[in-house]
Structures are given as C-alpha cells and as structure tokens.
C-alpha cells in the first residue's frame, strides 16, 4: 500500500497565500508556492500556538502571525526570533496536478 498522501491541487496554491492541508495521521500541514515551486511544512509554529498559514509569506520566508517569528519555507530552518526550533518540512511530489508527500515512517 502506498504511503503517498494527496494534500491539495497544486494550482490552488498561490504564491504568497499558503494553504492549510490535512491528511489522516499527520499533523496540520502548510502548502506554499514560492515562485512557482511547491513546498510543504508542518503548520503549527514550533514556538507559539499559531498556524503559519495565518501568517505572512515573504518570498521563501513564512512569518508566524502570533509573535512575528519566521521559518525558511524551503528548509524549515528557524529564521527570526522567537522561533528557534526548525519546523518539519516534507519532500514534495506533484502527481497528476496534486501536491503529494510521503507519509513518514512511524507516523500514525
């Protein structure tokens, strides 16, 4: 059985307007379009209790709405105070126009 998870249609994700996605057994996810390329990270900020898709995308940086901390969308690395812990990012595959990630080993 495939561990591939379909999240949303790639065309629905516009640059600067990240989209919240949900998949069974996975934490809340965020899908981004950076200059035409699609990326996926966890959605819940590693610092405060806020969804990054409610935040502000500036190129390849996503700024959390809550405290203004930020992450590198492409790598998940924490970029600005008060975020210190990297956000999980997932390798993306576009399959038949859908944004897909592979369910990590051990995920419920």
């Amino acid at each position: 059985m495939s561990n591939k998870l379909r999240l949303c249609e790639a065309a629905s994700v516009k640059d600067g307007e990240p989209v919240a996605a949900f998949a069974e057994g996975m934490p809340a996810l965020a899908v981004y379009n950076v200059d035409g390329e699609i990326f996926v990270t966890d959605n819940l900020c590693t610092h405060g209790n806020a969804m990054l898709t409610d935040g502000y995308q500036d190129g390849d940086i996503i700024e959390c709405p809550f405290h203004g901390g930020s992450f590198d969308i492409k790598t998940g690395a924490a970029k600005a105070f008060p975020c210190q812990v990297a956000i999980v990012s997932y390798p993306v595959e576009i399959d038949d126009g859908w944004v897909c990630i592979t369910k990590p080993e051990g995920a419920a």
Partner: protein, 420 residues
C-alpha cells in the same frame, strides 16, 4: 499672621557661617518632582547594581533610578545594559520579577519582546491574522525600543544615566571615589544577599545622615560603647572636587578607652562597663592593609558603599515620594573568603541593615525629622559643625560634607520654589 518668634530661624540678615536648609525641601512634592527631573534623570549617574548580581548572559535585575523602574541586564556578549522597565507599546512593566535569567524580555500584556539590549524584536500579530488587522505598513520596529540609559561599570559597580551630555561615570565620581571603590572591589566578590528597608521619610535626610560623621558616635550607642567608632579615633571626612560625594573613614585601633573616657565624660552614649555575653560578634579580622575599619563612601545621589568591620555592602536609595524611600542593602564578601570569614561576615551583618545594631537608628533618625517638620513651610535646619563650610576635615566632628551635598542640590534643584 507670622510672629517674630516664628520667623526667628529663617532670618537671613545675619549671614553667619553655616548652612540653612528649608524644611519644605523634605515635604513639598514640587521639590520631589524637580529632583526626579534634574537629579535622577538629569546630569548624574545613579547606582543600579553590582555586576556580580548579573554574572551570566541573560541575567537581569529589576531596580530603579530615582522612582523610575529600570532593568539591568547582561547580554550574550558580556555587556551590561540598563533600560527603562516600561513597554514601548502601552507602558506596562516589561519585567515583573526582581531577578531572573531569560534570553529576551517579554511584556506580559501583548507579548512585545525585546532583546537584552532593549531592542524590539517581536510584535505579535504585527501583520494581523489572515491579512486582517496588524500594524500600519510604515511600522518600524527599530523606532520602538525600550528607553536605553547610558551604563558604565566602575570596579564592578554599575551606574546608569539618562543624560547624553553628562561626563563619563569615572569623571563624575572623581579620583577619591574611584580609588575607594577599587579598594573594596579589589577582587571578585560574592553576593551574600539583600535587605530591604522602607523608611517613611525624605531620601535627602538619609543623604545627610551618611555624610555626617558627627552623629555616628552620639546616636549609635553600640558603635560607641564597643569602640567600633568613636569621634576620638583617627579618621577623615573628605569630598570629591565637586563636593557631591563624601568619604568618611576611621581606624578603630587608633584610640584608647582612658582617653575616650575623658573626651566623652559622662555622655549617655559612652559606657565602657557594658559587655556582650557573646563577644563573637565583634571578633573580626583585619583584612585591609591600611587598618581602616570603617568606610562610608556616599556617592551622589543614591549610593553608599560601606565597610563596617568585616561587613561589605552597597546601599541603594529608591525614592517613592517626598516622604518615603526604600533602602536596598546588598551584602557581599569575596569569592576567596574561607568558611570562617564567611561566618564572620554573616554574623557581623547583624550590625547593619534595617534592624542592625548600628544602622537601625539611622532609619529612626530620618523618621523623627520627617515627623517633626510636617507642614513646615518656612523654618530651616542649621548645619555648621566643623566650620559651616563644605570643607574636608581630618577629624570626625564635622558636617562639611552635608553642606557639600546641599551646595550641589541648590545648584541642581534650587531652594526657592514657590510653595504649592
């Protein structure tokens, strides 16, 4: 109607030696407000803490300059900083704890966050939520830092100033004060603890008290009775060039009981027959090569650095209004104190602080003045012991340094405000 008798002690037609200070400077809120502006926020350096109180990166201490709450911090580069403890947003206290360690300072109200230098680094919902709300587009974080004071450390004592124009702290202190700070802060110290004392009197009465070697052998019976301090001892009362600060010191081994008996006669405060059942309180060590056993270094406007026997402490004045201030005593020893020395310092701490066998009388002296001058708009004190001038003295029966204080006060605040 004012009678001749009532005006008697404000007559200015006989300019005899001596300094007269109108009692209203201790009670009238106008003077208090002028002091906050012209002294504590003016051309002065105020003591805010010891470097040893914030040794690690992220350490902070909440304190005050005059009545203004400030935070002393240590940043990750090892520098010390002093910022006003007031959020740049809507004015809340950023730091509500007295001490602690944090990577940044965060206001609890809206979680605006600042780094340890006071720079604004985080504003929640700055860009709103899902595009709604948020700060205006031209909002510039760098324009909303905590108010930063100048901060300088001299011998591990940290001073702060609101003034951009005041001379360097070392120059403000002058060579006598710097030398005395360095004498006591001669090696790494270790903090023993704080004592805090609310005194219901005007802070300047304490500024007078600590510039006054004359009272010490008369008011403080314990001091005198057990020979820790007597006016017959070798000592000096010196000031810096500007006569803002005062150094009083004495050498306890410089007198003898027989001669003192003659000098004091049957004075209330002198009785060599008194004994302590446990004399261990008075058994200290000679730890300074100069044999000086008492140093009261009073630094304008809000600090005393003291050595009484083997007690070492700073006393910081925090003002709460014309008739209330707090005295914060921070006791310390040296890092290389052995266990016995530490025990000596802790035992001798009973001499000082709010209930100290010596120091308790100073708080009381301040309050009995405040209680007696209430509502007095015209009368003045009379300060003339030692000649009535702001002069140094190579003895301890002088009030010269008090006059030095008032000369500076008159210049910075003035005596002649209109009564409110």
């Amino acid at each position: 109607m004012v009678t001749a008798q009532q005006t008697d002690n404000v007559k200015q037609d006989t300019p005899a030696a001596g300094c007269r200070v109108p009692y209203r400077v201790f009670t009238d809120r106008q003077y208090y407000e002028r002091e906050q502006e012209n002294i504590f926020k003016g051309e002065c350096w105020s003591f805010v803490g010891l470097e040893a109180e914030v040794p690690q990166a992220g350490d902070f201490k909440s304190t005050f300059v005059g009545e203004t709450p400030v935070i002393l911090t240590r940043d990750s580069d090892g520098g010390v900083h002093v910022v006003v403890n007031r959020c740049a947003h809507r004015g809340a206290l950023v730091c509500r704890e007295m001490r602690g360690n944090r990577p940044s300072l965060e206001c609890v109200y809206h979680q605006w966050a600042y780094d340890l230098k006071g720079n604004l680094i985080g504003v929640p919902f700055r860009r709103g939520l899902k595009g709604q709300g948020g700060m205006p587009g031209d909002f510039d974080m760098s324009q909303h830092n905590l108010r930063k004071l100048r901060a300088e450390s001299v011998g591990g004592l940290v001073f702060a100033s609101f003034s951009e124009t005041v001379e360097s702290c070392r120059d403000f202190l002058g060579p006598i004060v710097v030398e005395q700070i360095e004498r006591i802060m001669c090696k790494p110290i270790t903090i023993l603890g704080d004592q805090r004392q609310r005194i219901f009197g005007n802070w300047k009465l304490y500024a007078e008290n600590t510039r006054d070697p004359y009272h010490a052998s008369l008011l403080h019976l314990f001091h005198n009775t057990f020979g820790l301090y007597r006016s017959t001892q070798t000592g000096k009362a010196l000031m810096d060039a500007n006569k803002r600060h005062s150094l009083l010191y004495s050498i306890a081994a410089s007198n003898d009981d027989a001669a003192d008996k003659q000098a004091y006669g049957d004075s209330r405060s002198f009785d060599t027959e008194f004994k302590l059942q446990d004399m261990s309180l008075l058994k200290g060590r000679q730890e300074f090569a100069d044999n000086v056993t008492l140093v009261i270094l009073t630094v304008y406007p809000n600090l005393v650095l003291q050595q009484i026997q083997n007690t070492l402490a700073v006393r910081q004045t925090v003002t709460y209004g014309p008739d209330e201030f707090e005295l914060v005593w921070t006791h310390f020893g040296y890092e290389d104190d052995d266990a016995e020395m530490q025990a000596i310092r802790l035992k001798q701490a009973n001499l000082i602080g709010p209930a100290g066998l010596i120091s308790m009388e100073d708080g009381e002296a301040v309050e009995i003045v405040q209680n007696a001058i209430v509502g007095e708009a015209r009368a003045t004190s009379y300060i003339a012991m030692g000649g009535g001038q702001a002069d140094d003295a190579d003895h301890l029966v002088t009030e010269g340094a008090i006059i030095g204080f008032w000369d500076n006060y008159r210049e910075m605040v003035g005596f002649d405000l209109e009564p409110t």
